[in-house]
Subunit: 198 residues, 2 copies
Amino acid sequence: MMARTGRRPGNVDTRSEILAAARQQFAVDGFSGATIRRIAAAAGVDPALVHHYFGNKRQLFVASLELPFDPTPVVGSVLPGEAERAGERLVRTLLEVWGTDNGQAMMQSLLRSALTDEQVMRTLREFMLETMVSPLVVEIAPDQHRFRTTLLASQVMGLAILRHVARVEPLASADPEMVVAAVAPTLQRYLSGDVGGA
Amino acid sequence: MMARTGRRPGNVDTRSEILAAARQQFAVDGFSGATIRRIAAAAGVDPALVHHYFGNKRQLFVASLELPFDPTPVVGSVLPGEAERAGERLVRTLLEVWGTDNGQAMMQSLLRSALTDEQVMRTLREFMLETMVSPLVVEIAPDQHRFRTTLLASQVMGLAILRHVARVEPLASADPEMVVAAVAPTLQRYLSGDVGGA
């Protein structure tokens, strides 16, 4: 579990205790409610040690879920460039990430645990929306950004499930650029187009 | 279990045996591979008795999953009318069905069991695509209908999950007509618009 992160192991017991405390806190308080300070207190260590081992709260959350990588940089690869092609960049980036072995493993385990465990689902939902989707949408379309965020998430999640978890053909084996061509206009409209309402 | 169907109970043991045999056959052979004849043989009854108790294979499948209603008529309510507004009719009908207590209960149990049980997922996916989505798409847009079908299913499934299972706000509480306005153009494009490719 620890070996995957590529960091020096430190005191393995201490790291395990911090991760266990983090999982507990994230489950109870959600991503935004949990604090490094209280996680450290629950693990009986100094907050500085938590930062030393895991970095910031987001990185600790990623470690506590045993994600094989931190998904947050996806946003960084999508934002730069023409706003009217952000939907295209987003779906292309997601398909690339999902297509890796790490991405596949992460998605399957995440989706299943998220949909069968209310607490994991709540924390993960909040984490994904707050750290990834919402900043993207706010940057591109500040009006109705919360509604746009959930619309975007609905198409992204459905695509992930059909293509990578349920593996429904022909979508599951379709060339990524074919999927980009089909789905990018949807994401672009949810990001910056007309979604009805105000 | 039986009482829900509103049919006369008949021999409860025989019905239970038929349903158990049906679940087994659907899991092993999928929806299209399973036959009433073999299900009857496995239950040790005459095929006519299966038809008598449950109707056709689709109705038997609905009963075997303990769905509170048969979702197939949704297609019948969407097809009539202008083809260019079928996406709008589809999302409006789905939101109505999902909004009922029966619909909510069905969706949550279905999605969870489908995503955690490979066999249920495979059978259900095939059932939904063959009996509901695909006929709709074939009628409206015969070209690329299999690809369109899975695109449509990806948005529908993501919407169901975000709105009714994960209950992500503001999508979860949004007025149905607001959701219709936002999502109908997506479904319409997947049904009959430009999705790239041939």
